[in-house]
Structures are given as C-alpha cells and as structure tokens.
C-alpha cells in the first residue's frame, strides 16, 4: 500500500457511508455534506433508514424529508430513499408502465410478495441512487456534484452492496438484470464511488470494519481508501493528568471538583483513551488503511458545540497511526 495523498472526499461522485450500528454514520454523513456544500459543491444527502434522522441535524423542529426530499441548506438537498416509492417510481418512469401499475403495486398479494422477496429494497434503492447520479440539468451538467448515502449498518450494509451482483445471477434476462448491471458498474467504479467505513475506536466496531474492508476488496469490489474513526478522544487527558499531579491534593476549590476527584476522573479517561488509541492503530493495521479522526466534541463548560462547527474535520487528510508495537490491545488492557 503506497502512502501517497488520498483524493479529496468531495472529488468523488458517490460516497457510501457505512459501519456498525451506533458508530455515528449519520453524523459523519452530515459533516461531509455540510463541508462539501461549503466548498461550493451541489450535494445530495440520502438516508436509507425507515426512521428519518438527518433533518434533525439541520433544523430545530425537523419536518420529514420524504422521498422527494427538500433543500436543508443552500446546495444541500436531502431525501429519504423509501423503497416502496422508489419501486413505484421505477415501474412508472424507468419502465414507462402506466397508471394501472399503481393498482398492482397496492395489491395486498403484491405487498406480501415484496415483504418476503429478497433484496428488492436494496436493489431499488441502489437503482434510485444510480438514477440520481445520472440526473442532469437542461444544459447537460450533473445536477449533483456529490451524492452521500447514509447506508444501512454493516451486516445489513454488506447485503446492500451485494444485491446487484446477486440479482444478475438469479435473473437470466430482462430490464431488471440490465439495470442491476448499470448499478453494479457505478458501485465498482473507483473513479466515481467510494465506500467510507465509519468505526469507533472499540473492539467490535473495529472487527466489523475489518470484515467490511476485506469484503469491499473481495467479492463486493467497492473502492475504499480510508477509515473514519469517530469519537476519538482528544488526547488532552494525559497532559491534564500531568498538570494535576503538580497540584497538592488538599487545595480547596470553589466550583471545580476536588483535586482527588478530578484525579480519579482523569485516570478513568486516560485508561479509556489508551484503549481508543490502540484500537485506532489496530483498525489501521488490520485494514492497511489510513484513518481520519473525528474527535468527540463535548466542548467546555457552557460552550455550544454543534456538529456543523467541526464539519470540515471530515475532510482532514487521512493519517497513518505510528506503530511502535504490534501488541494486541486485548493484551495491553491488563
């Protein structure tokens, strides 16, 4: 693996953000969307979860985005890729079938078939993403410079990207197989598409990221060039602990916790920080990929720290954690 500078995230056409549940995919998506928008890109941000959460990042009283979506900011359009609406859309627009299909789509039997049918949601959603990527304005320019997809979490996420391939295997002919091949071409194109794994510096998410990256390089064939390590501690703890050690334990303070209390707080942080740094190094080593840190931003006392303020940190250059030991963090722990 060469350690040359990576492309800017905003230079891709499609960034698919995934990771283990609870690692902060949506926050990463919103930071990237906001940063790209500020850089002057026309951004489309798409969520795939049935429960919307993106609007809440941008609005105090969030309104649903829906399938059509709306502009959350200048140059930032967001929508929810609802599979049922996407299917109706597909049948009507892509296949050019008429109004009658609406009735079919609403049939209870058809709904049941959909409920049980494998992979159709993923395929239809990916198809819609492909369609949005292709979308051009009257002058022929791309409507969106950058599409960001808040993909399902890994486990589900892997099936998500694998579906076009599976569909082509299962179907012998017909428009669906053909469309699946177009979708696959987009996903496999390293010039246009990047898979962006998000992890936290913890054991299981790191494990899952490793599996994700291995599969991305293997049967999924999706380009991946960096890992986002979310909720990285700032590393200030050790410094603070060192300062605390120079202060007598019986110093009386007015509002801060006592010196021994602060000591025990920082000791705890320091131990957790140690694990976090070891896990960050582990994920980089396992995947042979550089990492982009996303620090925790709880802020100071009474400081309002919105995610947007730090949006640009997602565009920071990916770095290689310096490895001076190959020790397994599991062993370092005790």
């Amino acid at each position: 693996m060469t350690k040359e500078a990576l492309r800017d995230l905003t230079d891709f056409r499609l960034v698919i953000v995934t990771g283990k549940g609870g690692t902060g995919k949506t926050t990463v998506c919103c930071r990237l969307a906001e940063a790209a928008r500020r850089a002057g890109k026309h951004v489309l941000l798409a969520e795939t979860s049935p429960i919307e959460s993106i609007a809440a990042y941008f609005e105090k009283a969030p309104r649903p985005l829906g399938y059509k979506g709306r502009d959350l900011r200048k140059n930032l359009h967001a929508l929810r890729l609802d599979p049922h609406e996407a299917l109706a859309d597909y049948v009507r627009v892509q296949l050019g079938l008429g109004v009658l299909t609406d009735r079919i789509l609403r049939l209870e039997t058809f709904q049941q078939l959909l409920e049980a049918a494998p992979g159709w949601r993923e395929l239809i959603i990916l198809g819609k993403i492909w369609h949005l990527e292709q979308k051009r304005d009257p002058v022929g320019a791309h409507v969106y410079d950058l599409l960001i997809v808040d993909a399902p979490s890994t486990g589900h996420g892997l099936t998500f990207l694998d579906v076009p391939r599976v569909v082509q295997q299962a179907l012998r002919s017909g428009p669906l197989a053909r469309h699946a091949s177009w979708v696959e071409a987009l996903i496999h194109d390293p010039e246009r598409t990047l898979l962006l794994p998000v992890t936290t510096p913890e054991d299981l998410p790191v494990q899952e990221t490793h599996e994700l990256v291995s599969r991305a390089r293997g049967d999924l064939g999706v380009f991946v060039d960096r890992i986002v390590v979310n909720r990285m501690p700032t590393g200030r703890t050790c410094e603070a602990l060192g300062i605390l050690e120079k202060i007598p334990g019986d110093l009386t303070l007015e509002c801060l916790p006592s010196i021994p209390e602060m000591h025990s707080m920082l000791e705890h942080s320091a131990k957790r920080d140690h694990i976090a740094f070891a896990e960050r190094e582990r994920v980089s080593n396992l995947c042979h990929l550089p990492v982009v840190d996303q620090p925790v931003f709880p802020g100071g006392f009474g400081v309002d720290t919105g995610w947007a303020k730090h949006a640009e940190t997602i565009l920071n250059a990916a770095t290689w954690p310096i490895s001076d030991s190959t020790a397994d963090p599991a062993e370092v722990d005790r």
Binding site: T109, Q112, G119, G155, P257, M262, V296
Partner: protein, 411 residues
C-alpha cells in the same frame, strides 16, 4: 405480578432476550446475565451473534462455535446459591447453515433437497431474504428450548436498524407462504397453463405480467419451481413459524432492553420500546450500559451550573498559585495559562459527557417507572471486559440494584 424484575426473570423465565439498537453492548450483557442465571442453579445457554473475540476469551473459550460449549465457571471461585455445580454453555448462532439445515430437516427425499438447493432463487432467498437470518435464529432457539437441555436460554439479538426484524421474520415468512400469490404459482394445474391464471382474477394476472416484464423471462419459472419445491415444506414452515412466535411472545419469555448511556441515545431506545410494544413484547427490565463513572458527590449538572465565569476565574487563580508555589520563585504566572486551560477543558469535557449521560438515565428511569420496570445502570469499566470475573461483576450489579430516581435538572 407486581413490579417486574430482572432477578425474578433470571430465576423463572425460559428465554431472556437482550434487545437494543446497535453498539450498546447487548452481547456483553447477555453473557453477564447468563452467568448469574447459571449461578442461581439454572442450566443456562447463552446464544450470541457475532461476538467479539475478547468476549469468547472472557468466557474462557478459544472461539465460540455453532454448537454449545461449556463455560468453566469454577474459575470464578464463587459458591453458587443452589449448591449444585453451575452449568453454562455458550454458543454462536450461525444463520446460513441453519437455514440450510432447516430445509434439510423438512425435506423428505434427496431429489427434492437437491432441487431446492440448486434453484437460482434459493441461494438468494437464504442469504439475502430480509429476515431469513433472523428466522433461522428463531428456529434455533425453538429447537434448543425444546431440547430439554436448558432451563434458560439467554439470547443476544442480531444488530438491526429496524428494531425487531428478527421478531417480524417468522410472521413475514408465514404470511408470504400463505399468500394467494404463492398458492397460485404452486398449483400445478394453474401454473402449467397461463390460461389457468385467469381463474385467479385479472389483478393477480397483471401482477405476474408485471413481474415478468421487470424481472425478465424465466424468473417466474424459477420462482414457481422454487415455490413448488418448498410447497411440501411450507406446512411445516408455517407451523414452526407460528410456534416460534408464540414462544417468543409467550409468558416464559422476558425482554431486556439495553440502551447506551451516551446522551441523545435515549430517543432511539424509546423508539425501540414503542416498537416492542407493538408486538406486545414482555419487557422485564431496562439496562443503561457503560455509564461513565462520576466520582464527586455533587452531581455533574450541579458542577456545570456552578462553574460560572467569575467563579471559574477564582478557581483558575487558585490552581495558578498552587502551580507557582510548586515551580519555585522564578516561574512566571502567565506560563501556566495553557496548562490550566488544558486541565479545566479536560474536566469540562468529562463533566459534559456525564451531564448528558445522567440526563439520559433519568429520562429512561422515569419512563421505566411508569411501566413498573426497573432501570439498571452499568458503569463503564476502565478496560473492556476480558475476563470471566468482569462479566460476573456486571451481572451481579445488574441483579443487585436498579437505578433510583435521582434529582436531576429534567424534573
């Protein structure tokens, strides 16, 4: 029953399901609870999905396998409460082979089996079918409950974006197999001739036409062939799906809802709870996992409140004087500015995290109380659980004391 409790469930339930959104530590809690149950003298099995290597190590196992493996609890050196040797098995759920095995079990002859496995649709159905993984998991639980080998099965649930995919799975599969669509395709007289389809009305006929237009020629044939092949099995399928559902939503099952302590997470936990309600799931306890320890006696929000600018300045002055005294007379007071700000920022960060977490806990505790449930908290450990005694401690805390409603700014 009065207030439901985790302790009672550990003693009497037959299945304990650990549910919650991704990344909250379901697997660890499941393992911790199973140790407690085993120590109570119940023959216990903990069934986990995709556990961390470290958790397997913590259970004293090299790796978790898809068959029950005994966990050696004697290392704990704790006399169990029922004086019998505690029995705990751990096992990993392996969904894909299970689904194959299920088909194998339900299939009567070799030919039929080959026909199913070789079908193009089957491959897709078993690996990608929404919920087939979950369905297979439920199947396995059913099998294990009826094996008579265990008094209690503690079940870790698959990560799911949508809270209860695994609960919905059996019902979904059953509905599909009972649907008119399937009935139409598998009746030989009907599917043999397209004319026969007219009998089933034009909408359905149109639907099949549409399917063929989208999916291409051959798709319906493949699908029909597959459905015919499993038609013989579907009665068995249906019955099992119903039984699995009854088992999971029955009286002998308890659900433990696990939430992360991090602020803002309570919203998704509440959503999850609403969804559990929709299934009338028997919830027995709420667990807030990995709460950051707060050493001071004064609650974090009170510290944050009183750290006003002017008071803070006086504290910073005191710290500066202390540092000056320590450094000797030639040090400049200003040279400590950076150090003091590093210290107060680190403390502010820590406090802020704890404020958020404790707000989250107090909201969840109140909601739990309304439903006569206990809310338990588990403190974040200094290191990830790597040993059996770590799991034991977590379990003991869970059994011992639910979280009491503490004064908080929310009230």
């Amino acid at each position: 029953m009065t207030q439901l409790s985790l302790d009672a469930s550990l003693r009497h339930a037959r299945i304990l399901v650990c549910a919650g959104t991704g990344g909250v530590g379901k697997t660890t809690i499941a393992a911790a609870l199973s140790i407690q149950a085993a120590l109570l003298g119940r023959r216990t099995l903990v069934l986990t999905i995709d556990p961390a290597k470290r958790l397997a190590n913590a259970l004293g196992l090299e790796s978790l396998r898809a068959e029950p493996t005994a966990v050696d609890l004697s290392k704990l050196g704790i006399p169990d409460e029922n004086s019998a040797t505690p029995s705990l098995d751990a096992m990993m759920l392996d969904a894909k082979p299970t689904f194959d095995r299920l088909i194998e079990r339900l299939t009567k002859n070799e030919n039929e089996l080959r026909r199913i496995f070789e079908n193009r649709i089957y491959e897709q159905l078993s690996s990608a079918l929404a919920g087939s993984r979950e369905y297979a998991a439920m199947e396995q639980v059913h099998e294990l409950v009826h094996s008579g080998l265990y008094d209690l099965i503690v079940l870790d649930t698959p990560p799911a974006d949508h809270a209860l995919d695994f609960l919905r799975a059996p019902r979904r599969l059953r509905d599909f197999l009972e649907s008119r669509f399937v009935a139409t395709l598998v009746r030989p007289a009907v599917s043999a001739s397209r004319i026969g389809m007219r009998l089933f009305g034009r909408p359905l006929q149109r639907m099949l036409g549409l399917l063929e237009r989208i999916a291409g020629v051959g798709f319906l044939d493949d699908l029909t062939e597959f459905l015919k092949a499993i038609d013989g099995l579907s009665t068995g399928f249906r019955e099992r799906a119903t039984r699995v559902e009854e088992l999971l939503l029955g009286q002998d099952t308890g659900f433990v809802l696990i939430s992360s302590a991090s602020s803002g997470h309570q919203a998704s936990t509440l959503e999850f709870m609403t969804e559990l309600d929709r299934f009338e799931v028997p919830l027995v306890a709420l667990v807030v996992n990995r709460l950051r320890p707060w050493p001071p006696n004064t609650p974090p929000f009170a510290i944050r409140e009183r750290c006003h600018e002017s008071v803070m300045l006086r504290d910073e002055e005191r710290l500066r004087e202390a540092l000056l005294r320590g450094a000797g007379h030639h040090a400049e007071a200003e040279s400590f500015d950076a150090e003091i700000s590093a210290l107060t920022q680190a403390i502010a960060e820590y406090t802020q995290i704890c404020v958020g977490e404790q707000e989250s806990v107090s909201i969840l505790t109140k909601i739990a109380a309304q439903r006569r449930l206990h809310c338990h908290t588990v403190a974040e450990l200094e290191a990830d659980v790597a040993h059996l005694d770590g799991l034991f401690e977590i379990g003991a805390t869970l059994r011992a004391k639910p979280h009491e409603l503490a004064p908080s700014p929310i009230q």
